[in-house]
């Protein structure tokens, strides 16, 4: 039984160019730990989608990653506007991203669906006006 490894990141809401730093660092850490490349790929993709969401929709937020013996848990939380209709937000292609974000190639409405697709477990809760909380895991 190994001691869990914990990584924490703050995702800024105003700087697009920095979204991706958390997933890049987490990916490099998992490579050092010798985690199966296929699992690393799923963590990196799910986490990157989450970072982009935090940057676009939530005005920034936090990510805590816990790497245990056989599971990587990613906790993303923010104090953003919240999601009024989660099932709608989870449907592919649905997006509330403004045009300028779409023109950058983001906001295709695949963020949350992709996170769910690449993670082994995915839980989301949100309160309008208070924020969103996501816990997802990938078996490693």
């Amino acid at each position: 039984m190994n001691e869990d490894i914990k990584l924490s990141y703050t995702v800024p809401g105003d700087d697009f160019t920095r979204a991706g730093e958390a997933s890049a660092h987490c990916k490099a850490t998992l490579k050092k730990l010798g985690v199966d490349p296929a699992a690393i790929r799923r963590v990196a993709i799910a986490l990157y989608e989450g970072e982009i969401n935090l940057a676009i929709h939530a005005g920034g937020g936090n990510i805590d990653v816990t790497i245990g013996d056989d599971v990587c848990t990613m906790h993303l939380y923010d104090k953003g506007p919240g999601i009024p209709d989660i099932p709608l937000a989870m449907s592919e292609g649905y997006s509330t991203a403004p045009d300028e974000i779409r023109s950058l190639g983001f906001g295709a409405g695949m963020g949350l669906p992709n996170m769910k697709k690449y993670a082994d477990t995915f839980e989301i809760s949100s309160v309008v006006g208070e924020g969103t909380d996501i816990v997802m895991t990938v078996n490693i």
Binding site: K31, K32, L33
Partner: protein
């Protein structure tokens, strides 16, 4: 003197032990200890960046001497397309090819001709492949393939399983010479006239095939002055058999343009840019791409460390040279011949992992974090490692100690000093 087993040799008498190469190595494969640079061979991808960066020219590219020509009954030159970009006002590649014969080669076989076949084979593979297999990543740059092998395991399946043009040229040239002259294959010497030393490693430790057909790698910069003078008097035998597509391979974007009908490609050059593209590809940040061409050297092969001309000038010269060339002179008869395909799979070499078992890796990671908290995070390089994080990794792997950090050392000296100051008055009243 031969310290490095890769395509780089270090002249210890010239190396100052500065950390310029250490800091610029894209895979953090160099450390300075005992006053000289050392390469961590399992990490080195032969990109040649350290040769480019060394201000003292202590790093020398490793390649073969033309003396080797004497060992064979028949010799064949395989000029890289980048060679044509080195000369001023070159209107006809035949001038260069005739000069190579005048230099002493019995035959010439253009790598650009083989490149056209690789372009054709790539088109075949891309046409047959399902969309989810794409994008394909070019396998032409050996440094890029080695980089993927140690750092991007998830992209290994995307690397085109085709041998590089120089290797294909060697196989075809030898085969043809054997058929036409009856000379035994081992008595024929096949020499690649190369823009980069990574090809030397590609010959000695090939990826994708068990054995290389290239017998020696000669440097463009060595032959260049001799070819310049020989071009004035060389014959005018028509030797060229490659077109625009083959010659285009010399610079970044050329291989992609040779795919003709594919317009959703990306061509990146310069090792730092290449790494960024690979990271993004791995994270699926790049969409709707069919082909990715990556060259470790800025500008593509014309930017190799064994070339003479500025890569951007060379590219402009090649564009001029190509203008009146036919599009392509070489085509596959039908399907891809097996000799063009890799016979050995590319395998992930997890050199970045912290240990051999998961327990060891987790334990070492915890130690790593503790060490990083102690280190100043200045990345000065004075310890011989490129960054504080790299030093911490070296320590947990057992290659270095904290004593080599000058900041921690100074802190300790100051502590000792103040401890001594406090005790001194009592001892010496």
């Amino acid at each position: 003197m031969s310290e490095f087993v890769h395509s780089v040799t270090l002249d210890k008498s010239i190396c100052h032990g500065c950390t310029r190469c250490v800091k610029r190595c894209p895979t953090e494969a160099i450390r300075v200890h005992d006053g000289v640079a050392h390469i961590l061979t399992e990490r080195c991808i032969d990109c040649g960046e350290c040769i480019r960066q060394c201000p003292h020219h202590a790093k020398k590219a490793n390649y073969d001497s033309p003396e080797l020509l004497k060992n064979y009954d028949l010799t064949i030159a395989l000029p890289a397309p980048a060679l044509y970009g080195q000369f001023n006002n070159l209107e006809d590649t035949d001038l260069v090819l005739n000069a190579l014969k005048a230099y002493g080669f019995d035959r010439v076989f253009e790598v650009s001709a083989a490149a056209e076949l690789v372009s054709d084979a790539t088109r075949h593979l891309m046409k047959a492949a399902a969309d989810e297999m794409k994008p394909f990543i070019s396998s032409a740059c050996p440094a890029v393939v080695r980089l993927i092998r140690v750092r991007f395991p998830n992209l290994i399946d995307r690397v085109l399983p085709l041998i590089a043009p120089a290797e294909l040229a060697a196989r075809l040239a030898r085969q043809k010479a054997v058929e036409e002259t009856g000379i035994a294959p081992e008595r024929i010497g096949v020499f690649f006239i190369s823009p980069c030393p990574a090809k030397v490693t590609a010959v000695k430790m090939p990826i994708g095939s068990a054995r290389s057909e290239i017998d020696g790698v000669l440097a463009i910069k060595d032959l260049y002055p001799k070819l310049c003078s020989l071009m004035k008097t060389a014959g005018d035998e028509p030797l060229s058999h490659a077109g625009r597509i083959g010659v285009s391979w010399a610079s970044s974007g050329g291989e992609s343009s040779g795919l003709v009908s594919v317009d959703n490609y990306l061509a990146a050059d310069g090792i730092e840019n290449v790494i960024r593209v690979l990271e993004d590809l791995e994270d699926e940040k790049l969409h709707d791409l069919a082909f990715v061409e990556l060259n470790a050297c800025a500008g593509g092969c014309v930017g190799g460390v064994l070339t003479v001309e500025n890569p951007y000038i060379a590219r402009a010269k090649l564009a001029k040279l190509r203008r009146y060339m036919p599009v392509s002179e070489n085509h596959l008869p039908g399907s891809i011949p097996p000799q063009m395909l890799w016979d050995t799979d590319l395998e992930y070499l997890p050199v970045l992992e912290l240990g051999s078992t998961r327990r060891e890796r987790f334990e070492r990671y915890a130690q790593l974090e503790e060490l990083r908290a102690l280190l100043p995070d200045l990345d000065c390089g004075a310890c011989g490692a490129p960054t504080c994080a790299a030093l911490a990794e070296d320590i947990v792997r057992g290659y270095n100690t904290l004593d080599n950090c000058p900041f921690l050392m100074r802190k300790r000296m100051q502590e000792l000093q103040s401890a001594t100051d406090e005790t001194t008055p009592e001892e010496n009243p």
